[in-house]
Structure formats: structure tokens, C-alpha cells
Symmetry: C2
Subunit: 342 residues, 2 copies
């Protein structure tokens, strides 16, 4: 009898996650929220703990020909911390699973952990455990993070309501544009190893790719201002994809304005030089690790002059209408490409 074979690419990452999660109903009373947000939420008395995991694979998520190991270590922690930030929590502990082949020396491992340590110091996170093993070929780094916040202070993707204002921090698209530059320079180098990399004027975008930061600063500022976002997610797969997550989880629609999407000027110019549309990079590029969140209108006054929070649109009741108003004032449906590794 022939066995059925369905390719993973037919389902995609999100399809696969939906397929899996439908088979795993929660049974522990301490599991307050399972699959479907930036982190799981675990009961811990007056607090909730937040648990998330991210895996970075050589050849898929990073290329060591242009990603220094120290930066990789830093980034591996930062992307996990970003998931805790997106739940409105603060990170406290990480555990690291590391698989390394014998092409890596102890000095290489030291460089990786120097980056991990820099991130742990910066985000005040303790490394409390791990599993270190050999790998037949590439480097694999899997980090799980525990965060914490007062019970009731955690923010889900599902809380956005009609008329809420959609906010995004920092600027978008830079990390993707930086990746294009690094890939180009690698291709040039492979053709002619004598060539020096041309990274002048592109430092900003390259830095966004190689050394992303989790926006814990914003989480602390929002707390100081007594603002609890109604919904939040970090921008790891691109603005459009994250807007769809909020729309789907909250059962609302979003309306954003193209001219409000924050793009760094330098990254913008680089994108144009590469014949990339900067707005497409911002909408679908991913890896910026900024925070996308919604607030009640009544909270707007408190942050309207914040230099690093941008108001890009608003929430409306129709979950089927996720649209962008272009600079030419056309209303176009948002499309989420996200990242499809498969």
C-alpha cells in the first residue's frame, strides 16, 4: 500500500503550527495560555511566568561567513527576550541548547558565549542551564526564556478593540535590507576574494541584521507611563504578518497608513539602491524585533510625543478588512508573506 506524502511546504510554518496545536489541548491548571502568542503564560501565584523558545540554525537563520559568533550569541538571546517584551514581561532566565561540530574550537565557543553574556548583562537575564552536544555539521542554538510579570499585567495578541490606536516602535525593514547587503557582499567576495566589502553608508541596515535589540526599554517606559497595551506582538516576521496575527487573535480588522510606517532614512536609501521597495521591506522583511501594539485612545496623550513610538493606524470591528491606505490614498488589502523557510 502506498503511503501518502504531503510536503511541509504545502502547509507552511503557520499551517503546521495550527495542525499541531489542535492536537494538544491544555490539561494543567497552571497553563494559563499555550500555543498562539509570543510566549506561554504559566501561573506562579501573584505573578505569571512567560515561557518561549527560539531555534537558530546555521544555513537557515544565519551565515557564519558574515555573522560573527559574538553577534550570533547576542542575537540568539535578544530574539528570545523580544518574545517576553511582547507579552509585557521582563526576562529573567534562559537555558541554552547548543549543538556544535568539531570544526568549532573552544575559542569559537568562547566568542559565542561572549555575545550571549553581553546580552544577558544588558537584559539582566541569568543563564541557568543548558545542553551542549556535538553536531554532525552545522551550528544549532536553541534558547528558551522565562519571563515574569504581575498577574493581569501580561498582554496578549488577542486584546485589540475597535478604535484602538496601532503603534510600532523604532523603524522597520532595516534588518531585511541589511541581509540583502550582506548577501550581495558575500556573492561579490566569492567571485573575487580580493574585493573589500562595501559596507560604507550601509552600517545602519547591516547593524539591524547583525545586532538586533529587544525593545525592553519601551516595556519599562510604558510601565512608567501606566500604559498597558491592549494587544502586542514583536515584529519578527514583518509588519503585515504581525498585523494579521493581531487581527486574527483579536477578531478585529486593522487599517494602517503607508506614510506612517517608520523607515530609517539610511535604510530607505539603501533599499532604493538595491531596487527594493522600502515599504515592502518594512511590511514583509522581518527580523526587526520592534514592538507592534495597540493602545486605548485614552492613552494616546501620554505617548503622542514619544520620539520612538509611531502611530500607524487604528483598529476597526471587521476582522476581514485588513487594509493599508497608500500614499496615493488608495485602499489596498494587506498581504502577509511572512517568512517561509520551507
Amino acid at each position: 500500500m502506498e503511503q501518502k506524502r504531503t510536503e511541509i511546504a504545502q502547509l507552511g510554518e503557520f499551517g503546521l503550527i495550527d495542525r499541531i496545536s489542535s492536537k494538544f489541548p491544555l490539561q494543567q491548571p497552571s497553563s494559563l495560555k499555550g500555543i498562539g502568542d509570543d510566549a506561554a503564560v504559566i501561573d506562579a501565584g501573584e505573578d505569571v511566568l512567560l515561557l518561549s523558545t527560539d531555534m537558530l540554525i546555521e544555513g537557515i537563520h544565519f551565515d557564519l561567513s558574515y555573522m560573527p559568533l559574538q553577534h550570533l550569541g547576542y542575537k540568539a538571546v535578544a530574539v528570545n527576550v523580544s518574545d517576553i517584551a511582547a507579552m509585557n514581561g521582563k526576562p529573567e532566565q534562559i537555558v541554552i541548547g547548543l549543538a556544535i561540530s568539531n570544526r568549532f574550537s573552544v575559542e569559537a565557543v568562547d566568542a559565542l558565549y561572549a555575545g550571549i553574556k553581553a546580552a544577558c548583562d544588558n537584559y539582566k537575564v541569568d543563564l541557568v542551564g543548558g545542553d551542549t552536544t556535538a553536531s554532525p555539521s552545522g551550528l544549532v542554538i536553541s534558547i528558551s526564556v522565562l519571563g515574569r510579570t504581575k498577574k493581569g499585567n501580561e498582554v496578549y495578541r488577542s486584546g485589540a478593540q475597535d478604535k484602538d490606536i496601532i503603534c510600532v516602535t523604532g523603524d522597520l525593514g532595516g534588518a531585511y535590507i541589511g541581509l540583502q547587503i550582506l548577501e550581495r557582499e558575500k556573492a561579490v567576495y566569492l567571485t573575487n576574494p580580493e574585493m573589500q566589502p562595501e559596507l560604507d553608508n550601509h552600517e545602519y541596515a547591516v547593524g539591524r541584521q547583525l545586532k538586533p535589540e529587544a525593545r525592553m526599554d519601551i516595556i519599562y517606559e510604558l510601565a512608567d507611563l501606566n500604559i498597558k497595551p491592549t494587544a502586542m506582538i514583536d515584529v519578527s516576521d514583518g509588519l503585515a504578518s504581525e498585523l494579521f496575527h493581531i487581527s486574527k487573535s483579536s477578531g478585529v480588522g486593522v487599517r494602517i497608513f503607508e506614510d506612517k510606517i517608520p523607515i530609517d532614512e539610511n535604510a530607505y536609501n539603501t533599499a532604493v539602491e538595491f531596487n527594493l521597495d522600502p515599504f515592502t521591506c518594512a511590511l514583509n522583511g522581518g527580523e526587526d524585533y520592534e514592538l507592534l501594539f495597540t493602545i486605548k485612545q485614552s492613552d494616546f496623550e501620554k505617548i503622542k510625543n514619544h520620539s520612538d513610538i509611531h502611530f500607524i493606524g487604528y483598529v476597526h470591528p471587521d476582522a476581514k478588512q485588513n487594509v493599508m491606505i497608500t500614499k496615493g490614498e488608495n485602499v489596498v488589502p494587506l498581504k502577509a508573506q511572512g517568512w517561509e523557510h520551507f
Copy 2:
């Protein structure tokens, strides 16, 4: 200038862990215990949470030519649960990082998750999150587990005291012996694919390798009997290696009796057939996932007739004297080989 290159094999897994952990002092008040036990211990009010992570890599930890995906999924959960058992906790949540190449179909992923689900149901663990990604070649599965117990009820490697009785559950060496059988059958098959595998009479050892169980049953029984072990660890790297961990962490020595080491009769015979010393398999084989623990003498009465707990020796004050009394009544120093993948 030439850069120094030190091979990871020179340090070994434990050397590497020591090198890393010395650079990461704990700074969060909620981190009650970091690197150096079966799980980290996190403050959660009246309870402590236990956090551990394990990574399984194709070609290092498993071979899909004889490891069915369903068994792999089950084992990946069980080995994590075993770490929580070893802390005297009960497991509650897991998150899974999974990297799969496109040689795996959706049906293969389903088989893997069927095993994960069976383990989750058996151990009452919720799958609360994960990260699924492509892999350039092999399969990587990284699981982190959260467990829980009342504060003060957790058991460390460090609590063994003079005159405590050393106990081990189940039997040892079987998983290693099972691996040898599977490797032999694979070699035979590769030479002559017409050959049928000869697994008759070896089901026990093969089962120990392919479908290990975490000994949560023992944790529940000890709680019912009101016994809190003074020190505990799970047997993942072999009895000798685990005894050394308890010795080092507790600052005590151990004295065990060869003839008390529990070995399954069937596995014993198989080992002999393979020209392996069954006691060496038990001492250094690993992957049995039994529990090794120490109890106060005053608790002995309560479990002395337990059919699945074996009393293999006792603790004494000299941390430098870790010895075994052979069947010939010779006193030999214990040697820990453990698992060195590098």
C-alpha cells in the same frame, strides 16, 4: 598573528560546561539555582519552578534507520521529564524547538508529534509553545520543560550526607545494550538488505533504548511514603558518571557494591552474547533514565521491600574515595566515562 585553537574534545562536555558557567554568575533574585543540577530552580511564591532543556540531534543522539519517529517524539519528552523527576518535581509544561529538512513529509511530522502527544498524555504535560523551522539536513528536536514542586521539596545533587543509603530504580545498562543490538542489525542490513532483523530475545534491551520512561512513578511513590531523598540525579550518562556528580556536588564519597547493581537478566544475557561486560554497560552505558538517589537511614524501613528500588551502597565523608566493592571483594576506584560526543 596566529590565533589559538583549542579543540572542544580537549575539554569534553563537562569541561566546556564548567568553563561557560564560571562566566555567568546569577543576578536575578528569582534564580534559586542555576547551572549544575538536573534543572534550574526558579522562585514562584509557595512553589518553585524547575526548568531544564535537552537537545536531540540526528546522527548524534538517534538514527532514524532504526528509531521510529513516534518513539523519538516520546523519548524527547521522556528525557526532559526525567530531569524534572530528578529534582523531585512534577512536569507541567514543555516547549519544542523543531528543525526539519524537506525530506520529511507532513505525515512524518505527524508521527513525531503522535509520540510527543503520547508522552504528554502519560506524564500529564502540556505542550505550550515551540518554534518550527527548516533544517538544511538532519532533524533537530530541542525540548525545554517546566516542572513544579512546593518550595523546599526540591532535591539537589548536593544534599547527600555521610551514612546515607544509595538507591537506584529499575535496572541499568539495558539502553546501551539495546543500542549495540540496533547498531549490529543496521550493519547487517546494510551488508545484506534481504536479512531480517534478529531482535528476538532482545526486545527488553531494544525497548530500553527506543522507548525509555521517566520514573515519575517513583517520585509519586516517594511522596506518598513521605520520603524526601537527600540527593538525586537521573541516570542519563551511566551510573558511575552520576555517582561522581553526587559526590562532587555533595562533597562526599560513595561506596557501592558491584553485586547490588541491578541488571535485567535478559539484557545481561544479551550483553554476554555481544562480548560486553554487563556491569561496564550498567556503570558507563547511559540513557537508562532511572533515578539515582540517596536517603537517610531512617527512611530505609519504608522502602526496603520495594520491588523496583535497589540499595547499592552508602555515602561516606571522604569525597576523594568513590569506590566499588567487586564481587571478588576487591575495592576498586570508580571511573566515570560518561558520554563524550566530541
